[in-house]
Amino acid sequence: MNQHTVKSYGDELNQLTAIVARMGGLAEAQVADAIESVARRDVALARAVVERDARLDALHADIEKKAIRLIALRQPVASDLRKTLSAMKLAVDLERTGDLARNISKRALILAEGEPMLPLTRSIERMGKLVSNRLRDVLDAYTASDVDRAMGVWTSDDEVDEHYNSLFRELLTYMMGDPRTITACTHLLFMAKNLERIGDHATNIAETIHYEITGGDMIGERPRWTPTPSDSDVMAADDPLRPQES
């Protein structure tokens, strides 16, 4: 590690990273609890997730304030500047992640009033586990400053998309089979969409980590699956809803 002549400057940078890690932990827990609240129909937990979101917002504001202060007073350059800017970018992604988790919990509150839909909530749970694992991986990469690990998350985003598409079909089948489930299924569909968005934020975070450590952009196209003609009949139904790359 490079030593800073002014000790408190290094302290300030460390502190910024620490708050981002803390915020990451909170966002992680929000996502995990939101999924749990859906899977276990836990109304109290869902309410807790909705309430705790304010703390993520507060941390986001805090990071922004500290980063701006650091830029104004210390004029960081090179890796310090990248660190500061990444902290701000990560805070935005994590704050959005928290919002999406809160939205999942709000929908869980509505679902809890109706009949249990076990196989479907299981599918949501499975997709949720996948997304939480990615979020955990990418945050581990951040705290360990591990580019390879971040790249691993970045290159495997299509797994989430596959799960999303599969879940989409499953929900369609349910809705066609029994129109009374349309309300619940629509909520589940939005949950799946939210999870898919959280996965995208994890990818963004991976890109930011790559930038912070190497200073360069991600090179090359992310490995993605593009529909072949033989798949077109399958994809025609969900084409308008295909996750758009941000």
Binding site: T17, A18, G24, G25, A29, A144, W225, D231
Partner: protein
């Protein structure tokens, strides 16, 4: 420090309170007694006073063993003087070998999150949290907000607490975390974090719930059909011998399916229960594969299917439980046989010395490919992979994510006369996960499918891995 070691532990150090209290108390008693002798008229109150002073001195002196204990834990200097070096080494060894992860955390300023650092961590904690070095920033190794809050309360509020903590990863584990404040010194506050593994208990609970849900749901259908046939046999089919024989055959098949289902569910539960326990045995992947192929030879002859095994000449030693690995290979080949056409060909391929990326790499060109299980990163392991490739109907892309789901069936596909329980791939996935391996599926509709399972190679020679694991 030889002089410290030779001096008797009974003799107090010159600066100790015992010395000053004892000396001054004794002096006061002597003076009072001398006064009593000099002036016998006031002897009674003077002797009483001398007694009082003596008792007080004795009390102060006896407090000594209790008082400095707080200093001893937080202040290394005191410990060095009062404990022989051998004892410290012993204590350190005990701290290291405790199987529960233990962490000592230093406080710093309450509003400075980077100030909270890990001062001490025993081996279990270092392994669990992958702490790179002593003095790591707490929040960079432990992100769980509830646990961090509990640590804060211990550090700055002096409150002990218990919370739950889940360490993520593919083999998720559940911990009970206990936080308690340690005696503080003037310059820093310390807290102890102790984790206790409760994975077994939690898994047990989950298993019971899952087993009941699955068993009751999946056994209902064959049970309903059984009772339907019984009803018919008791009623108008009683005298019809042709129908009776046919019904009894169907009932036997249903009963057999039910017992297979229960067996599979039980084995799945058992594997899930042990999923976080690393396997202890070692085996040769090539031998295990040929054993399975031999055992299935009757079935392959019945179906007219040919199995071609391609394995390296040397033994491929992996770390794993033999029975479980055999079950993985058997389930994969079993599936391949089920979906193979008559006179079909199944290729079983064993490769070794692969990185995780190489092991999971595509084996079929132009196929839809999806990793069903990816091992946790972080360890530099080499893998051996077994690929089972069939030339059956294959599956289209949208089915792949759900293949390891319990009871999931690809619609519109008949798996022959011997329908499975729908648990085969779920069992495969859980076994592979227990072995810290990975699982990948590839498929082209109409051309077949390939399943690749890969396992870490056995590394008996590695220095970092204790042989007892």
């Amino acid at each position: 420090m030889p002089d410290v070691q030779t001096s008797s532990p009974v003799v107090p150090s010159p600066g100790s309170r015992l010395w000053t209290a004892g000396a001054s108390g004794g002096l006061a008693v002597l003076i009072l007694l001398a006064l009593a002798v000099y002036d016998p008229a006031h002897a009674a109150p003077l002797i009483g006073g001398a007694l009082l002073v003596a008792v007080t001195t004795w009390l102060v002196a006896n407090q000594r063993p209790v008082m400095p204990e707080g200093n001893e834990d937080s202040d290394g200097g005191t410990r060095d003087e009062t404990r022989p070096a051998g004892q410290i080494a012993l204590l350190e060894e005990v701290f290291e070998t405790v199987s529960d992860p233990l962490l000592v955390v230093r406080g710093g300023e309450p509003d400075d999150m980077a100030g909270r650092r890990v001062v001490l961590a025993n081996r279990a904690a270092r392994d669990l949290l992958r702490i790179p070095r002593e003095g790591a920033i707490l929040v960079s190794v432990l992100r769980d907000p509830t646990l961090l809050e509990a640590v804060d309360e211990a550090l700055f509020g002096g409150v002990s607490r218990e919370t739950n903590f889940d360490s993520g990863g593919v083999q998720a584990r559940h911990w009970r975390a206990m936080t308690r404040p340690l005696p503080a010194s003037a310059t820093e506050t310390l807290a102890l974090v102790r984790l206790r593994d409760e994975t077994d208990v939690r898994r047990m609970e989950l298993m019971r719930v899952d087993f009941l849900a699955n068993a009751s749901h999946e056994l209902r259908t064959p049970l309903a059909s059984l009772s339907g046939f019984i009803e018919t046999l008791k009623g108008h089919a009683r005298e019809d011998s042709v129908a009776r024989d046919r019904f009894l055959d169907i009932m036997a098949a249903q009963a057999e399916r039910m017992s297979r289902l229960v067996a599979d569910l039980l084995s799945l539960s058992r594997i899930e229960l042990n999923e976080h326990v690393p396997p202890s045995g070692h085996l040769d992947l090539g031998r295990a594969t040929t054993d399975v192929v031999d055992a299935l030879s009757v079935l392959t002859q019945q179906q007219g299917v040919e199995i071609a095994v391609a394995a390296p000449d040397d033994a491929v030693r992996i770390r794993g439980e033999r029975d479980e690995i055999v079950q993985v290979i058997q389930n994969l080949i079993d599936n391949a046989i089920k979906y193979s056409p008559r006179d079909g060909r199944i290729e079983v391929d064993i490769r070794t010395g692969l990185s995780p990326a190489e092991a999971a790499a595509s084996r079929m060109t132009g196929a839809a490919r999806l990793p069903l299980l990816t091992p946790d990163r972080g360890e530099d392991l080499t893998y051996a992979a077994v690929t089972v490739r069939d030339h059956g109907p294959g599956m289209s892309r949208e089915h792949l994510p759900r293949l390891t789901e319990r009871f999931y069936r690809v619609e519109g596909q008949k798996s022959g006369e011997r329908p499975g329980t729908g648990l085969g791939l779920a069992i495969v996935k859980h076994i592979v996960n227990r072995h810290r391996g990975g699982l990948v599926v590839e498929s082209i509709p109409g051309e077949g499918a390939a399943f690749t399972a890969f396992f870490p190679l056995s590394n008996r020679t590695a220095v970092t891995e204790p042989l007892t694991v």
